[in-house]
Symmetry: C2
Subunit: 253 residues, 2 copies
DNA sequence: ACCTGAACACCGTTCAAGT
DNA sequence: ACCTGAACACCGTTCAAGT
């Protein structure tokens, strides 16, 4: 008797080995593009949190280890996915109206994140420096700032402010809400929001009917389903107006 | 013959079972606070990515499953950790000078994220709605907006813009750089940055010496080690100036 | 060059059992 | 009430082997 492990003498009960079930032999050959495509689809469907390399391999009908021929690690695959989602966000150069160019850049970035919902948190919060060095973005922003009359002194600071502002709103707006038991969580938050004591928070209570589920912290519907457009527009216009003021001050002083 | 699995007839080679090694019997009893504290320390040290519930249990000298008495899941523990990191970010009410209050709020939020480095991505990009409904923050921002003369119409939009801006910069600034082989990655990026073709990107090339490692996309040193203060100050002042302009327009129209 | 196949060292979580 | 202990169904990754 080998021991108390009853299963040891039986056939290994590991479920059906690692054989890729769905597509025993895929017609099209494996490629980096196909892997990125499959990963993109899976993240859009289930979120980054529950994205798994093994699942990607399963849907492609190959062994998990086959992916390693194209990507050195899971993170490298995610970086490629982020790079793919960031295509075409830089508007073509525009004469004279830097405000319009910047507005369009903000709009495109948000649009790109909206078409790949669960990717905003990766692009904004993790992969910004990992992504494949998008020089057209950097160059475009610098061009815009110079066109707006920005002196060399504050150029770098303003560049950093622009990039952060660019990623900011979509990252927060499209942040994933709790994945486990989302219905229960939503119901719970909804109830707590509606039970906010009016005398402790008079200002909040007065505007609650317009804020409930339509503002950060007090919302339970994710930004993918319910965009907060008004806030975004305000955000963009605030930033552009503030940049105008800041540039005027910089040129004067 | 049971099969080809040679190890089946031997003692299970799983490494030393799950026994908690470091502290065989902890003097202080387990508690939600101690777990949060341990989790906070571990995230600060190794990042959210490699944070594990089992490791937290190990450092506390208990079985992994003991944590489940206090938290229903790993995510719920992370939410508690986020809530702990967000303490005291709302400044006390201030008379007359809403700009100063807002500036202080921005400063405090960034400071809180800086003291818990790897948490910004969670607070900003994941837990904003999961966190424990910080009504003082909501109320404080609404108060500030009203004090600034904001009409009821655009109030919600401006609130959303403020919250997004609040989280935006620190989330991007403190985003974790690639964890695996950071040295190699940094060297690689550094080299690529310095090899940027000057004729293809004339504007960029002219400012490269001040931008390399000191601006988003072109940096390889993480924001925890090298803060981008100038960009943050510009960002805050741009937002406040823009908000002033926007409010003036709202009151007029 | 491109992929299979087995194995390693982990995970989070569930459930029953101890005290 | 609070924690142990074993087990389940996964992970990402390495390494050798096939073709």
């Amino acid at each position: 008797m080998p021991g108390t492990d009853a299963s040891a003498t039986q056939a290994p009960r590991r479920q059906a080995t690692d054989e890729p079930k769905p597509k025993p032999k895929s017609a099209t050959p494996l490629s980096a593009e196909r892997i990125v495509e499959a990963a993109l689809a899976q993240i859009a469907e289930r979120g980054v949190e529950r994205f798994s390399l093994r699942d990607v391999a399963r849907t492609l009908g190959v062994y998990p280890t086959a992916v390693y021929w194209y990507f050195r690690s899971r993170n490298e695959l995610l970086a490629a996915v982020c790079a793919a989602a960031q295509r075409d966000i830089v508007p073509p150069p525009r004469q004279g109206d830097w405000q319009a160019w910047l507005r369009e850049l903000f709009r495109r970035y948000r649009q790109a994140m909206r078409t790949h919902p669960h990717l905003a948190q990766l692009v904004g919060a993790q992969m910004l420096s990992n992504a494949s060095l998008d020089l057209t973005l950097v160059d475009g922003i610098l061009h815009m700032l110079q066109q707006a009359g920005c002196p060399d002194g504050p150029l770098v600071d303003l560049y950093n402010a622009v990039v952060a502002a660019l990623c900011g709103y979509p990252t927060i707006e499209l942040a994933p809400l709790p994945a486990e038991d989302p219905m229960g969580w939503a119901a719970d938050l909804q109830q707590r929001v509606h039970q906010i004591p009016a005398m402790q928070h008079p200002v909040l209570a007065r505007h609650l009917h317009r804020m409930a589920d339509r503002s950060f912290v007090l919302r339970w519907t994710p930004g993918t389903q319910q965009p907060l457009d008004g806030g975004f527009d305000a955000y963009v216009e605030i930033f552009i107006a503030g940049l105008e003021a800041r540039l005027a001050a910089a040129r004067a002083g």
